[in-house]
C-alpha cells in the first residue's frame, strides 16, 4: 500500500488476555519500528527490525512483550497477559534504509485494557 498500515485501529481487551497488533510497512522499506505512546507522553521506542539482522529489543518494557517480522515485511507485536498499564497507542513506522532516513508512521493501534 501507499503508507504504513496498522490493524486493528482500536482494541479493547480484558486484563490478562494476550493481544496481537499488526503492522504492514511501506513496500520496499527495510527498517521497521514499534513505539508506544502513552497519554501525555512522547514516543517510547520498543523494538527495531532492519533487514535480516537480529532485532534491537532494547526498548521492550518486559518479557510479556515480543515482536516478530516475517519475510522482512509484516510485523506482529504481541503482548501477553496484558496489564492496565499496557493501555496506550502503539505506533509502527518504517524507513527505506539504514540511517539517515525519515521514518513513516502508521495511524497506530489504540489499546485499552479493562
Amino acid at each position: 500500500g501507499a503508507g504504513v498500515s496498522q490493524s486493528p485501529s482500536n482494541k479493547v481487551t480484558e486484563k490478562g488476555k494476550d493481544v496481537e497488533l499488526r503492522c504492514d510497512p511501506i513496500s520496499g522499506h527495510t527498517a521497521l519500528y514499534w513505539y508506544r505512546q502513552s497519554l501525555g507522553q512522547g514516543l517510547e521506542f520498543l523494538i527495531y527490525f532492519q533487514g535480516n539482522s537480529a532485532p534491537d529489543k532494547s526498548g521492550l518494557p518486559s518479557d510479556r512483550f515480543s515482536a516478530e517480522r516475517t519475510g522482512g515485511s509484516v510485523s506482529t507485536l504481541t503482548i501477553q497477559r496484558t496489564q492496565q498499564e499496557d493501555s496506550a497507542v502503539y505506533l509502527c513506522a518504517s524507513s527505506l534504509e539504514i540511517g539517515p532516513s525519515a521514518q513513516h508512521f502508521g495511524d497506530g493501534t489504540r489499546l485499552s485494557i479493562l
Binding site: 534491537d56 539504514i98 513513516h104 495511524d107
Partner: protein, 113 residues
C-alpha cells in the same frame, strides 16, 4: 545520553500569528533532526528533516526549522498559522547509523480564532 527537550508542553497562538516551537537536543555528534506533527487519532507525519548542508530547512505546510549547532537547537517556525495547524508537534533526533530516533515529549499547539 542522547535526549530531546521540548520545553513548552502547550502553546496557544492566534490564527494568523507567527509561531516558534522550541527544541533542544543533547548528542555528541552531528545529529539528524526531525519535526513531526500528529493530529488527533492519527500517526505522525514528517514535517521536515535536517541531515546536513543548509541549516535552514523548509518543510511541508509552510513550516521551516533552523539548526543552530552552538545552541543545540532545532526550532520550528511558521510565519502565519492556520486553524488546521492545531496539533501536537514532536521534535526528534536520529542517533547513530541504525536510524533509532529519540523523540521529545511533544508540544501541543492551540489556535485561537
Amino acid at each position: 545520553a542522547q535526549s530531546v527537550t521540548q520545553p513548552d508542553i502547550h502553546i496557544t497562538v492566534s490564527e494568523g500569528a507567527s509561531l516558534e516551537l522550541r527544541c533542544n537536543y543533547s548528542y555528541g555528534a552531528t545529529p539528524y533532526l526531525f519535526w513531526y506533527v500528529q493530529s488527533p487519532g492519527q500517526g505522525l507525519q514528517l514535517l521536515l528533516k535536517y541531515f546536513s548542508g543548509d541549516t535552514l530547512v523548509q518543510g511541508i505546510k509552510g513550516f521551516e526549522a533552523e539548526f543552530k549547532r552552538s545552541q543545540s537547537s532545532f526550532n520550528l517556525r511558521k510565519p502565519s498559522v492556520h486553524w488546521s495547524d492545531a496539533a501536537e508537534y514532536f521534535c526528534a533526533v536520529g542517533v547513530g547509523r541504525d536510524d533509532k530516533i529519540i523523540f521529545g515529549k511533544g508540544t501541543r499547539l492551540h489556535i485561537l480564532p
